[in-house]
Symmetry: C2
Subunit: 190 residues, 2 copies
DNA sequence: CCTACCGATCGGTAGG
DNA sequence: CCTACCGATCGGTAGG
């Protein structure tokens, strides 16, 4: 264990915020997690809130990178939807701490700081909306309200970390196919 | 404002826990919310954790009452599913504080106290599972894994409080129909 | 990154 | 239900 970096602190904070919540984690807990005193954390950051902001931003950027890749793929809308879904599942499973902090701890940011993740969330959802619209225009999907459809799809995707374990009887690929199936069923034209 | 009752305290705690989280709410905050000093709360309860337990239990019982009514109705499985869905939506919208506390603050119960809401949750989910099984046996639904189908359906239903406002362009009845439609589409036989 | 510390606040209690 | 208080812990700072 070499010297502790800012990045180590952000990682550790993700773990603790996800598990105990922002208000359930003290600077001393965090120091202990990285092998420092609580007060020594202030050599790396200016405040506890700054750490929360950074963990959340990390989660948001992971989601956006996934969406950017899906939208850039030279494939049809139904295939883009599959990429969005499997990409989201990968982010949720591989970066569970940042995702949980993004989902459940953003509300503890100061009001003026909350605008950023809210906007990031909206941009990310827009990727889903655009694919539903594209799919409808190409005649692949039924024409449903893309706003509601995106919200319902993301409701399923965000809840995954609350019940799915990678080592269960269902593997990640099967999970993805179930969710793709469930979602696409509602988009099918009769 | 007559004298403060235990029930007033549980109600106020639901409001504060939902908004600020369990660890973000102090006994002094809670006292202030009901017009007492923080220390005076201890005339009504034994600990802060006891209050959390009670708020969560209130939420769990509201959900179960809805499920019991749906299962008892003398109707077909597809209609029971609609009752389960609209009942869940009503509980989420009419008792948002207890629901949010149930969903997001249960993890702050001591390990041995967490077993109760977990079991309540499982019993409630079992109502959904049984309706999916009944529907498949009656030939109304495609035969899908009832465990996964229940989880995906409840993922959508529990997320409602995160985005739906009763005064938006979509009213509650329309919301219910969208969700019933989205869910049933995946259950339809070709 | 530690030592040494700050004022504020925490959950909770004794005694009336 | 308040007064008066407990020891513990909170986020954070000065100075090295």
């Amino acid at each position: 264990m070499a010297t502790v970096t800012r990045s180590d602190i952000i990682d550790a904070a993700g773990r603790l915020f996800a598990e105990r919540g922002y208000h359930g984690t003290s600077m001393r807990d965090l120091g202990n997690e990285v092998g420092l005193l609580g007060s020594s954390i202030y050599s790396h950051v200016n405040s506890k809130a700054e750490i929360l902001t950074e963990v959340i931003d990390k989660g948001a950027k992971l989601f956006q990178a996934s969406a950017d890749a899906a939208l850039a793929a030279p494939v049809s809308a139904p295939e883009k939807l599959e990429l969005l879904i499997s990409g989201h599942i990968d982010v949720v499973m591989d970066h569970a701490n940042e995702v949980k902090t993004f989902l459940y701890e953003s509300r503890f940011l100061a009001a003026d700081q909350r605008a950023v993740p809210l906007e990031q969330r909206n941009t990310y959802e827009a990727a889903f909306r655009s694919v539903f619209v594209q799919g409808a225009e190409a005649g692949d999907f039924k024409r449903l309200d893309p706003v509601i459809t995106s919200i319902l799809t993301l409701s399923i995707l965000n809840a995954i970390e609350r019940w799915f374990r990678d080592d269960g009887r269902l593997d990640r690929g099967e999970l993805t196919q179930r969710i793709v199936g469930f979602t696409k069923a509602s988009l099918e034209k009769e």
